[in-house]
């Protein structure tokens, strides 16, 4: 079972610029849609407050109902220009739930300089510890309709049949 999400994106911007956008908590907040109560320093626990993103009006509208919701964010590791590792609660959007008592997932941003920019790899792992009820909520909260469910399960079964 895949317990991990990995994304790779090629960003046409200088390494320094990309690093600042991720490692500077106020810049991170601009595109992600959150305001942190401090800088990203390894070993610190921060509180993030959801604030609609300033980058994309459509996404901002989706984040609006969650505005003001706070979440715990732990900075595990910072290696300038290379790696930053966080822990957080995925999809922690229900104001009535105390997510702090639940396990966190591990989120890694890895930067590699390439010819015309930066190859950024993000990975999130540790979903196996998240209660199913929480996962089901995240899934029903989405109004997009999961037409790909059959494909997902097929992929899942094919992917695990080797074991």
């Amino acid at each position: 079972m895949s317990d991990r999400i990995e994304k790779k994106v090629h960003l046409r911007a200088p390494l320094e610029r990309v690093w600042q956008a991720i490692a500077d908590s106020s810049q991170f907040g601009v595109w992600f849609g959150v305001v942190f109560d401090g800088p990203f320093v390894a070993g610190t626990r921060l509180v993030g407050r959801i604030t609609p993103t300033q980058v994309d009006p459509e996404v901002a509208a989706m984040q609006k109902p969650h505005e003001g919701k706070t979440f715990t964010f732990i900075v595990d590791r910072v290696e300038p220009m290379r790696t930053i590792v966080f822990r957080w609660h995925p999809y922690a959007v229900d104001p009535d739930v105390d997510y702090d008592s639940e396990p966190m997932t591990l989120v890694t941003f890895d930067l590699a300089e390439v010819a015309d920019g930066v190859l950024l790899t993000i990975s999130e792992s540790g979903f196996d510890a998240i209660p199913l009820s929480r996962r089901a909520e995240a899934f029903t909260a989405n109004d997009g309709g999961w037409t790909k469910q059959a494909e997902l399960i097929k992929k899942y079964l094919v992917g695990t049949s080797a074991s």
Partner: protein, 116 residues
């Protein structure tokens, strides 16, 4: 704490699917049921080197997580995969994955289009 205890700790069907699938034997059972359709405890046991008791215990853990459903079929129980549980799990990861796609799209706009 067993899977059954964890399942009992949550209301109703809020069992830990991933935990249930975290064991190679249980994952093997799920995969076999997915590939071949409903199978008896005996045929699931014969595909492994484990005892019938051990397999029955794994099946109970899968049942607690709502991943399989057991029906009486003659002298033996017949087990069927409950695909809706797996769909929930797949959809959850798809949801998180889509959120990352969106967030990375915004990061791209931020670093490529705007000046700090």
């Amino acid at each position: 704490m067993s899977i059954a205890d964890q399942a009992a700790g949550h209301a109703g069907r809020n069992a830990l699917v991933f935990a249930a699938l975290g064991d190679p034997t249980r994952l093997g059972i799920v995969t076999r049921l997915g590939a071949r359709g409903p199978l008896s405890t005996m045929s699931l046991t014969s595909a492994t080197r484990l005892s019938r008791q051990a397999i029955a215990k794994h099946l109970r853990a899968l049942e607690d997580a709502d991943l399989v459903h057991g029906k009486r079929g003659g002298r033996d129980k017949v087990w069927e995969l409950r695909t809706e549980r797996l769909e929930d799990v797949g959809a959850y990861l798809a949801q998180i994955s889509a959120q990352w796609d969106q967030a990375l799209g915004r990061l791209r706009d931020f670093v490529e289009l705007e000046q700090p």
